[in-house]
Symmetry: C2
Subunit: 448 residues, 2 copies
Amino acid sequence: MSKKFNVSTPSGFPEFTPAQEQVRQSWIRIISEVFEKNGFAPISTPLVEREENLLGKGGNPKEMYVLKRLWDEDGDKSHSGNALRFDQTVPLALYVARHFNDLTFPFRRSVIGPVFRGERAQKGRFRQFDQCDIDVIGNGTLSVLNDAQMPAIIIQIFKRLMPDQDFVVRINNRKVLLGFFASIGIAADKVKNALDIVDDLEKLSKEALLKNFEKEGFSSEQSDKILKFIAISGSNESILETLKTMSNDNELFQEGVSGLELVNSALNSMGIEEKYFQLDLRIARGLDYYTGTVFETNLIGYEGLGSICSGGRYEDLAKIFTKKSMPGVGISIGLTRLLSQVFEAGIVKAGKVSRTQMLIISADEKSLSKSLEIGQILRDGGYFAENYLEDKKLGKKFEYADKLKIPYVVLIGEKEMSKKIVQVRDLETGGRSEVEESQLVEYFGKIF
Amino acid sequence: MSKKFNVSTPSGFPEFTPAQEQVRQSWIRIISEVFEKNGFAPISTPLVEREENLLGKGGNPKEMYVLKRLWDEDGDKSHSGNALRFDQTVPLALYVARHFNDLTFPFRRSVIGPVFRGERAQKGRFRQFDQCDIDVIGNGTLSVLNDAQMPAIIIQIFKRLMPDQDFVVRINNRKVLLGFFASIGIAADKVKNALDIVDDLEKLSKEALLKNFEKEGFSSEQSDKILKFIAISGSNESILETLKTMSNDNELFQEGVSGLELVNSALNSMGIEEKYFQLDLRIARGLDYYTGTVFETNLIGYEGLGSICSGGRYEDLAKIFTKKSMPGVGISIGLTRLLSQVFEAGIVKAGKVSRTQMLIISADEKSLSKSLEIGQILRDGGYFAENYLEDKKLGKKFEYADKLKIPYVVLIGEKEMSKKIVQVRDLETGGRSEVEESQLVEYFGKIF
């Protein structure tokens, strides 16, 4: 070893511990299953797209990683002009543009995979991170009922990811906000600023907010109306009631209220408990992209983590790439960031480092062949059954199971072989059982 | 749209069709499940590693993609010197080097994910492709029994991936080859050349082979012995018998034969049918890396596709990164390439574009709420149940199910609601059933 290598991961490209990785894998299994159960088929697009396409849809050149071969002096230009994707939405827009005629609309797609952003290195900011997205894209039109499907899916997912942790999906409709602002005489070109101030509602004091409103040139009457409006709270029904009794005849406002009503009643039809979703007029999200229903999700008691799953309705997915009008609605889970947060906050604890349910150990060389046979039988029976294969002392073999937190050991020795039994050890309780070899698959069937 | 965008994928970064993607997803589910059932836990390392580490382990600068921000004039050096991984082995070596003290050995890891190679654009060559690998790494030593686990896993996987397609894992041991060559007087520095010629055995005529042997300075006696040796065939037992009766007392040769014997008998212990694995003295693989057992896998009748899953035993995983001696054995499936091949050869046909088992359709607006309720009940019951949500004519709704090849439609209208039933349509047979709403989950339980 003449050279000393720095084997650490590059800055901003962290990795999880083996036990944390198990949680990540199980979360990916759950998320993708819920996505697919609701009709969202996975689509994989390349991690690499044309630079100009990424730039055309808002890619930030300071954060976009372009590819270049380390040695590229052969003049092969086909390698240049490409960059790593920075989100899952631009690749979706490109995918829909390239495959438009082969797709059936509404087109439901899911994706779970890495995106890349060359951000400044700092805690909680990753340069590669997994983003789990679903979107449903209409051809020309798309029913607002699809908007209701999004919180329903968020709720299905988080109930399974963190069964002991309460959470709430907060729902608003940008049209309600935009219509309301118009109705109190705030000009269209000021709406974005007003919404930005509303976005800061939970971060700032009332005085600071009012000051910000004043700076924007809003009258104190307007500011009062805004604050009164965004203070509307209560049950979903009562919020809808209040909005309707406002008798605001702004068309956008009324469309937004109808949208919220439809989403609320659809969620009720699905039998989703009201504690999981809350209409909330303070949710605004970014103005440029979302045009209708918007969602955020918070962990109760950990609101400081920010929204753990957000999304909303947008007017046109692929405007610059095609002339077709394609409205859509989608949500996104920033998986890497969320996992880091829940591990750090202790909300989720990493445990086992593999899914192995039982380690098959031979006590001596003569029983080795039998142990291989039994391992295969258990695997064929559907279990995660690992054979210990090294020629070590028995203690070392058990130590391996202990270290990997494998719950059961199946032990076979000459004595057991002669009686056609195996010993089953429960490593958690210390319990021991003798089980007939032919009954082993059934035996574990009662446990797993 | 002032600018015309080229929305196609960059050269060498293809994507599958939606239906092909479904096959890819189901293959990934199967491969990862078999890996995990055998104790191989997934580990995800970043797609990006330090350039010098990749170069240190054989990275080809002409094919290695380094990252550079499109705009990087802020002097932030932390973004430079990194490149995309070109295989799954170097990241494993780095992972083991960085986490050595936290790992339990033998360390079994699986990985399924993309690697990147800036190769010349040509058919069947991808610049991004999925590689599915497992490796088991010992700390100092590693039992040859682990070598037997590899073909067992290959067999479990391909029986499930392509149930109607025969295949065979061909197994050899490099020590047998190296020992044999030494025993017929071929000097160590000529062994690589001899093996390279043997590697071409199936591509070249006997005459061309003999000419190549001659060019290397081998005597005709040596050449004859080589050809006679690599012609040894028959059942696994008989090949082992022949090797033993050769009474070759070269130590390496004997070690190799013992290795093959152990692998063969372990596979027999596991109850693996002999038709799935074949000792084959012609398998050599690359000399530089593999040192013991080697594997290749062929689809019977499609041998021209080459090996679809290969691997072997190596001496030391992470030599340049750590002083620890870490022997290992592993296999790799080039998933993207293999899928392209089996689709093109018609061995596997892509079908459905989602996993949706039933589409829930409301016949009129009054039954919409009920249809949402039923969809949720079916999903809670474990099904892949998609609600059709658009306000379209009934024919359009059925057309959607047809196009997506969804097998069943659950239809609800006012009439059905009043009778507390639903209509179930089997879109393949055209069959129609009336099912009580409360019995629907049980009804599909008999189908799926």
